[in-house]
């Protein structure tokens, strides 16, 4: 609630709610909010879907299962900044990246002859951020859902199978209801972690081009350390806290069972 820009630090004074007004009316903040919602929703839903699929595939006994699991969780462990840099430069780079290289090869295979040098990061900034994020978060979702699958008692499933339940029936009537709370938990935890992270935006697009891929955390960061509008940044921070409180109260209501199951 202060007018506080450290470049003009002598002019710091109390301004009531004007910072909140500035933040609320700022078109960049609005773009950032929309991008944040789009990006988080897309990443969470797609990686949960992939994670569910992978968890179902991994919930069987087969040769090399532990190796497969180790390979699959590795993307989640790579330092996010490192993986963002690698996707940006080594995969998406228009001149040397393997994505364009790969597409060019496919064209060649069909007799085409031109080299593809599409700048994926500038053309589709949000997609270019979402893909590495999905790659990183799918293992997380997979691990939680897999833990859910393995906590099912095999005896009950066997009994149901003996009683003549088909594979699909087993899945939709027994496995899925059991998994539901795990899927909810993975969605909620994923949302909390993903909505807060700005590593990928910071590294891959810096919010650009223009404001096409900026997100709330990154925008607050800019207000703070590029515009030096401390008052505005604080106001935006307070708004974020209120939104988070609302969301997490909702989230806690959903996950209460699972968090309290061991009490």
């Amino acid at each position: 609630m202060f007018h506080w820009n450290i470049i003009y630090s002598k002019e710091t004074h109390f301004t009531w709610f004007s910072n909140f007004k500035v933040v609320a009316q700022d078109p960049t903040m609005r773009a950032a909010l929309i991008n944040s919602i789009t990006l988080t929703t897309a990443v969470v839903l797609i990686s949960t879907a992939f994670g569910l699929g992978l968890a179902l595939l991994l919930d069987r006994k087969f040769r090399g299962r532990s190796i497969v699991r180790t390979l699959l969780i590795t993307p989640f462990l790579i330092t996010p900044v490192a993986s963002a840099l690698l996707w940006k430069h080594i995969i998406f780079n228009p001149l040397y990246g393997i994505l364009d290289g790969f597409i060019t090869q496919i064209y060649k295979a069909f007799g085409g002859n031109h080299v593809i040098n599409a700048d994926f990061v500038s053309n589709q900034p949000l997609v270019a951020i979402a893909i590495p994020m999905i790659w990183q978060w799918t293992p997380f979702m997979m691990l939680i859902i897999l833990a859910g699958l393995q906590s099912q008692s095999p005896e009950i499933l066997e009994a149901a199978a003996v009683d003549g339940a088909g594979t699909w029936q087993l899945f939709s009537k027994m496995t899925f209801p059991h998994l539901r709370q795990y899927i909810q938990l993975s969605i909620i935890l994923g949302t909390i972690y993903i909505v807060q992270s700005m590593d990928f935006v910071f590294t891959i697009t810096q919010g650009g081009p223009g404001t096409d891929s900026t997100i709330i955390p990154y925008q607050i960061y800019l207000t703070m350390f590029r515009k030096y509008e401390y008052g505005e940044a604080a106001a935006a921070g307070v708004i974020v806290v209120f939104i988070t409180i609302a969301l997490s109260t909702l989230a806690l209501r959903f996950t209460k069972d699972i968090l309290e199951s061991d009490k």
Partner: protein, 275 residues
């Protein structure tokens, strides 16, 4: 007979599918690993030169160009904060599980709620406090921040481990006249060692990979490995092979920690809720 053959086929089909997906998932990492051993001129080619000369030059130059300072900073902040977190979280978890204190559920909810606070909202106040204390760009200040970041998670996680210990054990020890301290460090600690170890690994992973706080409260002296990585690209221009090598060096400690802790990874990530 026919049915079992079909079953076998669909089984091996699913297995190959699983293998294929996991290899596809791992491919970017494999590719980067490959590039990191290449000379710069062979790194950016497609189709790849599979047989290009292998060299360790990129790795040796990672350390020549001074990455060691930043790796050391990361090590101080992550290991330091992990140790402090464990020292603080272990008794707290005890007080919240085995001998629940009055209103322990509220304490737990409070711990959990701090995990919901987006760090970006806390960033400005933290920055200003550090500025007033003249500890910006100080690795120990960052360590303290990481302690506060990982403490709630560790309390929850350790608590879920301690819950599995039969309370009779503690009661028996108490009957034999053991003090709380003896119970904590002589009786329970050896049993909960696996729990402590996996909590430590989770804390380590989170603080090593942390970026938002690191980039804002450190400048040059206390910059951690991820901060170095971001600056690296602008400072050096584009050097694929070198970038690949640096990224691998920076990620390696966490990848190893994660592989070691993979059975307990879920538990840490879900605050001890999922076993």
């Amino acid at each position: 007979m026919k049915q079992s053959k079909a079953k076998f086929l669909s089984k091996s089909g699913l297995t190959s599918l699983t293998w294929f997906i996991s290899l596809a998932f791992f491919f970017p990492i494999f590719w980067i690993l490959l590039i990191s051993f290449r000379q710069e001129k062979d790194a950016g080619t497609f189709p790849p030169k599979w047989l290009a000369t292998f060299s360790f030059d990129n790795y040796s130059s990672v350390f020549q160009k001074g990455a060691s300072t930043f790796l050391l900073n990361s090590a101080i902040a992550s290991i330091g904060s992990t140790v402090i977190v464990l020292i603080l979280a272990y008794p707290a978890a005890y007080a919240l599980s085995i001998k629940p204190i009055y209103k322990s559920k509220d304490v737990l909810t409070f711990f959990l709620s701090t995990k919901f606070l987006p760090p970006i909202a806390a960033l400005l106040p933290l920055y200003l406090i550090l500025q007033h204390l003249h500890v910006l760009d100080n690795i120990w200040a960052l360590t303290v921040l990481y302690v506060s970041m990982n403490l709630p998670l560790s309390v929850w996680m350790l608590r879920s481990f301690l819950k599995e210990i039969p309370p009779e054990l503690v009661e028996a020890a108490a009957l034999d006249g053991a003090s709380t301290r003896t119970i904590l460090y002589k009786v329970l600690a050896p049993i909960s060692l696996p729990g402590l170890a996996s909590t430590a690994l989770i804390c380590f992973i989170f603080s090593w990979n942390e970026f938002l706080l690191a980039i804002n409260v450190t400048g040059f002296h206390a910059a951690t490995a991820p901060v170095y990585l971001v600056g690296f690209v602008t400072a050096e221009g584009l050097f694929f092979a070198h970038l690949a090598a640096v990224s691998i060096v920076v990620s390696l400690p966490v990848v190893i920690a994660g592989w070691t802790a993979q059975d307990k990874l879920v538990r840490g990530l879900s605050l001890g809720a999922v076993k």
